[in-house]
Symmetry: C2
Subunit: 381 residues, 2 copies
């Protein structure tokens, strides 16, 4: 990148990753410049961000509120994602709304800093193939994928194995009885990471780790049998790579999303940022590891199986999980019903292999409706 | 290297690192070929090695035993080290005898797989400057330096900090009273690594880690204040690098010297070797860290201070330590006398800055005599 200021667009700027991306930009104003901001419904925060960063392009869901004298141009997510003035697009939207702008950015050959899980999980094959055609660079923002990416840096041969670490969530050693009684409040308290609501629940069920396994499969072109999950409650080692000679590299830091966000933005360079914390080894003196309990946390197994089967299964997994988490957060189903609802939806799905984008979107719509139907029925999960 | 077989010479082939290098060659016969073997006094083992690997060039100390009908050529260490038929020289000799062949190999522009600590500690400035002139590549073999080297791979900017891990040795939590009573037998029992006698005692005093700090200074061009030592009793993380953004990379494996030896030989490639163990995370489930106790283990402090002062101090440190360890192994001084003898020798030294090789060798001779004198006197260290 030399000394040129990178021109950034942040899609999902009012969410957790979006806000932390802006913190990085605030700390490094000579390296990064905001040209585009996009948010959903949090117009109050978006307005503050617009006043502070003065982007040229803005998107928000409720466009009727657009002030006539605004100093920015209102564009769609896709228009911002592929605009010639944008170098790097940060996809920090949540859920499937990230899919279309991710594809637009990839097709335009952008640097795509990808925090949205659903894009690669639902349409990994399409996105990776498009990126090869356009030479777009997909820069992982998730701490786990960033760790793997950093560990692979400079290595010329494929990895022997990827080891994704997982905190294990707040219910790591819960008994089946305890899991049955989990409340929304408990599930929203993640032991090590501050994140959005959906991803926090997905962390508690380990669905999040399963989605990350699918992402890792696409990002690093690794077969599923070479991607392992290891519980590491302290969230200091963010993931590891084992090489063919048995040597393992790990990436470590305090759990702070600003580091992987910044690395995705500054890559291939690293930037000194005094606001990022330094690991203090007099406090971090014990790192532990456990095997994941697939019986207590079936979402992990469901996700990996859906990834292995491929086709439209991962899209169905995502959609059913989104419904299930919503229903849990609104206290209409129990915590342990989340995997049951996802599993039943997957079981009833007639999958399509190598689906088109339209077929993926159709599978998503089918699964959303199916999961809602299953949940409203008398199903005794 | 492509698919060409690398031509290796091993200086010190009957020692611990030498034997493990031959194990790697045995496991990977299509990658490596032995053209030179050199040993000290263990003629029995050397003869076995000669029969198995059929080197063209051989060195051993007692040349009068040379059989007239031998199928190899007898050369000096230096002649083997710079022979045109040799691609990579493994310097696995112990003590200062590694210095002269290391310099010969470096001046000849070889790949120098360096396991001998004394070369860089005594003459780091000279060796690094010669390597720049000849474009020789110094490939670290020590597990710690190999770990740092692997973590730096692909990084384009200088590290913010190197973190050398140390097992802490067998006397990690010993009280001053317990340290006074340490026996040779106890000191030779290293908790995690199988190594030669001298390096095992140096590990117990932490002198070994101090020497590695000095080596890291030269190998990675890092100021001493950016090289930290961290006690990690399990010896799974072999060292770490912290970058300017606060991200840390670590290299992990079971403590087995064959891995860093093989990496030095195969670099920049990695080679699959089924004989190298894979980390089993169901057994390796707890990694701990402590700050080193510089009061209980003053050798670490003495070494870092000698490294910082530079000039002939590190050579004096090495020589005095060699004498002290010899005297301890022959039960003529106590374990806690080792740092005292080294410190007194250093205190009486009139150092030379930017010394020539001759001045380094003279400082070594002076320190050896001085330490012996101090030990035989009535000094109440």
């Amino acid at each position: 990148m030399g000394n040129a200021v990178k021109q950034l667009a942040i899609l999902g700027s009012t969410g957790s990753v979006g806000q932390q991306t802006l913190e990085v930009v605030r700390a490094l104003p000579h390296q990064f410049h905001i040209v585009g901001l996009a948010a959903g419904k949090n117009i109050g925060l978006l307005t503050q961000q617009i006043n502070e960063f003065k982007p040229r392009f803005v998107y928000y869901q409720n466009r009727t509120a657009h002030p006539a004298n605004a100093e920015y141009e209102l564009l769609s997510l896709e228009e911002i994602a592929c605009h010639p003035q944008v170098d790097t697009v940060v996809i920090a939207t949540s859920g499937k709304s990230g899919l279309s702008p991710t594809l637009a950015a990839v097709r335009a050959g952008k640097n795509v800093a990808l925090a949205n899980k659903e894009s690669l999980v639902m349409a990994g094959e399409i996105i990776i193939n498009e990126a090869k055609l356009s030479a777009a660079r997909i820069l992982p923002v998730d701490s786990e994928h960033s760790a793997i990416w950093q560990c692979l840096n400079g290595e010329t041969q494929p990895a022997a194995q990827l080891i994704l670490t997982a905190s294990g969530g707040p219910f790591r050693h819960y008994s089946p009885t305890q899991l049955r009684e989990v409340t929304v409040k408990q599930a929203l308290k993640h032991p090590t990471w501050q994140m959005g609501r959906k991803v926090t629940i997905d962390s508690a069920t380990l669905m999040n780790k399963g989605l990350e396994v699918i992402e890792a499969h696409w990002l690093f072109d690794m077969p599923f049998e070479k991607i392992k999950v290891l519980i590491h409650p302290q969230s200091i080692i963010h993931s590891m790579v084992e090489f063919i000679d048995g040597s393992i590299k790990a990436q470590l830091s305090y759990p702070d999303m600003r580091l992987p966000i910044q690395y995705a933005l500054s890559y291939p360079e690293r930037l000194a940022n005094p606001q990022l914390p330094r690991l203090d080894w007099s406090h971090t003196n014990n790192l532990t590891f456990e095997q994941p309990d697939l019986d207590a946390f079936p979402c992990l197994k469901l996700a990996i199986e859906a990834g292995e089967k491929g086709g439209t299964y991962p899209a169905v997994l995502c959609a059913a999980d989104e419904v299930a988490v919503e229903l849990f957060l609104s206290q209409r189903i129990k915590f342990i019903d989340i995997p049951n609802l996802v599993e039943q939806t997957l079981e009833q799905h007639q999958a399509i292999t190598h689906p088109t984008l339209e077929e993926i979107i159709a599978a998503d719509a089918w699964a959303t409706e199916k999961a809602l139907n299953l949940a409203s029925g008398d199903n005794p999960w």
